[in-house]
């Protein structure tokens, strides 16, 4: 497989995972959130009703109101679509930021024009 084909295939796989498969990911708290909730009791709306746990001290994210907060797109109500599109944006953004950064940092080969 040519290197360019490899890169494009890899990016398409990432887009498929973030854009489609992400809609079927588990919604349960992750390992750290689970540890943070240990010691507290919760009601049906997932509000803390008693006990002592790390989650009580949790503060809102500074950018909680941003258009892509919590892997959704503000204004799109369909959850699968909202999550999927935010994932596509995230993959392309990460590729652009990461790829751009690494391209700038790379060693220029002498005698070869960039």
């Amino acid at each position: 497989m040519r290197r360019r084909t490899f890169l494009i295939t890899g990016l398409l796989v990432a887009l498929l995972l973030a854009g489609v498969v992400s809609g079927f990911a588990s919604g349960s708290p992750d390992g750290l959130d689970h540890a943070a909730r240990e010691g507290c009791t919760f009601n049906a709306d997932d509000e803390i009703t008693g006990g002592t746990c790390m989650a009580q001290q949790e503060q809102d994210h500074q950018l909680a109101g941003s258009p892509l907060a919590d892997y959704g797109i503000k204004g799109i109500d369909n959850e699968l679509l909202s999550t999927g599109l935010s994932g596509v944006v995230g993959v392309l953004l990460t590729f652009a930021v990461g790829g751009g950064l690494f391209w700038l940092l790379r060693r220029r080969e002498p005698g070869r024009k960039a």
Binding site: L32, D60, G87, V91, V97, G98
Partner: protein, 224 residues
Amino acid sequence: MHIANGIINGPVSAIFIVVAAAGLALCVWRAKVDLDDRLAPMAGLVAAFIFAVQMLNFQVLPGVSGHLLGGTLAVILVGPWVGALCVATVLIVQALVFADGGLTAIGLNITNMALLGTAAAYLLVAVLLRVLPRTTGGLGATALIASIVGVVVAALGFVVEYALGGTTDLSLAGIAATMAGVHVLIGVGEGLIAATTVVTVAKVRPDLVYALRAFRKTPIGVAA
């Protein structure tokens, strides 16, 4: 495993922003040696791939999920220095754009997932690729074992930070036990994903796998 704002106090969060910045500066300095016209786009792809897979939370226990951190995958494919920068790039994009992982906690999160987890994973990869059979099975087993250890080390990074600046009065032993136990399971999940990914790349383009170039001068047995 993204720490939210408020769980670790301000001074300790600030110290870890300095720790993370120093660690990333070292990585940038060393990464320049590895990065060339071939590795740079590959590294961008690794970062984008880790972002995608981090969205895929998998169930590890009833009511508990986990997601890949990506350190092992990154160090095997693009090396330790560039690999740490890939994970850090993902964490920064997540914190700034997706409100995942507090801005105050960014130093804590980078230290745990981009620096500690990847460093532990890389040390294991360096040893295991030399001692395990030089086959795709050996590469897969390396990815699996390094993932489990890398994820648990990242989780223990949180426990240390909590010991230094936790804002609640809870038993440290209890937190350490919960974090370590759950993250062994998450590490197994990460390991299966990482092993599948690196073995696939090794079958298609073994020359693009940094760890095989570094530790297996003659990549025999890699071909399927």
